[in-house]
Symmetry: C2
Subunit: 313 residues, 2 copies
């Protein structure tokens, strides 16, 4: 079993697409069966730079991701993409034209695109995503893009856990304000006003600048990039902004501190998850029913029943 995992990880490291896909499925499912794989992957990782792409549905972040892939490939670097956004063409949720365009990359051996299901409990996705990143990392992809829809706490968290987080908004009344409300500005390292050929672009940029000013001084002030993704405009500027942030991170041990903080959060989340599993296991079945029956008859109070279920802690 463990040696199977070692073989699979070895194959993934050699670029075997089937092995990469199998490993992502394994860590996506999670649970005990995935632990040996995570352990093995973790040993071989830590090299990939991760970029989170997030924004409201329809903001064009999938098209931007598509163009970024092309930009990265122009430099010859390989790239892995995890699409967690159910509205993303990568996950098959968009119109045919988009989906067909994505196929371009499907024949490119240097690109590995994978959609992640948002099914199951919320905690599952937040835990599975870093493991899936580790598969692509161990497989030697120097860049991993994680695309999530910027609504919902978990999706925002997942995007925010990348080394560099790109938040995409559109011109138009209040889009920046909405992003701010959703907690997106807080996690943004790079801001993109996409569809910048539309009216209201200057206003959107001004709104974002104001909100960034109000947020106070930071070590890094997120640059605001204007793009028209459908016409490939502004993509080089966006990529330069990502690379600038990367340079910034690599100064003064910032990247290591950021990753350490993330690992702390991850270990904590895993502990919480495993304890939740224990709640599920403990709060069902005959023993639980019998204890509840004794509570109903007021023979036992709720705290005593909980203590009995948990055993001596």
């Amino acid at each position: 079993m463990a040696s199977d995992v070692a073989t699979l990880v070895e194959a993934a490291r050699d670029g075997d697409r089937g092995a990469i896909a199998k490993l992502i499925s394994l860590v996506e499912t999670g649970g005990e069966a995935s632990f040996p794989a995570v352990a093995e992957l973790f040993r071989h990782g830590g090299n990939a730079a991760t970029v989170g792409m997030t924004g409201a549905p329809g903001s064009g972040k999938s098209t931007l991701t598509d163009k970024l892939i092309a930009r990265i490939r122009r430099d010859g670097a390989e790239v892995g993409v995890l699409a967690i956004d159910p509205t993303s063409p990568f996950t098959g949720g968009a119109i045919l034209g988009d989906r067909v365009r994505m196929q371009d990359h499907a024949t490119d051996e240097g690109v590995f695109i994978r959609s992640m299901a948002t099914r199951g409990h919320l905690g599952g996705l937040a835990l599975a995503t870093p493991q899936a990143v580790r598969v692509l990392d161990a497989a030697g992809k120097p860049w991993v893009i994680i695309e999530t829809v910027g609504v919902g706490q978990v999706e925002v968290e997942v995007a925010g856990a990348a080394d560099t987080t790109v938040v995409v908004v559109n011109p138009g009344w209040g889009d920046g304000v909405q992003a701010n409300k959703a907690g997106l500005l807080e996690i943004a390292d790079v801001l993109v006003v996409n569809k910048a050929d539309r009216p209201g672009t200057a206003d959107a940029v001004r709104d974002l600048t104001l909100m960034l000013d109000l947020a106070g001084d930071r070590d890094w002030c997120p640059p605001i990039v204007e793009t028209v993704a459908t016409e490939s405009r502004g993509i080089d500027e966006l990529w330069d902004a990502v690379l600038s942030h990367r340079d910034f991170l690599e100064q003064d041990g910032r990247l290591n501190r950021r990753r350490e903080a993330r690992l702390r959060d991850e270990v904590r989340a895993i502990v919480l998850e495993r304890l939740h599993d224990r709640v599920d296991a403990v709060c069902e079945g005959d023993r639980f029913d019998a204890l509840v029956a004794r509570v109903v008859s007021r023979e036992l109070d709720p705290y005593a029943a909980a203590a009995a279920l948990l055993g001596k802690q």
Copy 2:
């Protein structure tokens, strides 16, 4: 210690207001120190009928609660009130006029009003409220009103955990729709359109009727009562609706089934809470730091670190 608690509960059962207040403080704080009190209170409870009052801030639910107290007192019954709504005059958040009016009941020995803090973690409130209800229950109050503001999942849960839940809306565009979105219609046993002297009352009633129809057949169809709380209009009708629902609950063992389901949820919530406390305890300190350091150096993967923290399960 345990005998102190027994003495305190005995005093509360004899109507000692100081003892009631002390016990509520004790269970509100929660934790191990409160367990003996909960156990003792639980043995003496199960008789109070609970009424949840909820609605948006400004809907007039506090004034309705005030009038209901007077209505209940007209029949000579005692009543306990837990005000969890920070905008409620009972909790001191409203204008002086309201607060002064509340003082009427303060001199009435048959009324015990207590505000509950919403401070601390969310789970705390959801757990503390049933314990505070048990204090008033053990103290022999046949009616306990729990007033919460109907925004936020926990507040809705707390109100919905009453035997009878009254949801208050106002005339005006979309108020019923908002209540529906907030999950309030789902938990409503009685619906109140307060400020029914304002335009749009008929529309609000029609909206609510339609939404109830759309929700499908239920054993109990929530009556819709029109009130003008500030003028004491509709209060008898509201009280009759609460009593009708009470009669309904007492048929065919419905009340017992409802309470059993609630106790199941409560035991589960306590188990979850105690395990969360364990996460807090486990994910800090030198041992946690040392394990994270080993994860950072990739000597250990995050799952292995979590397993080490949790010990053999």
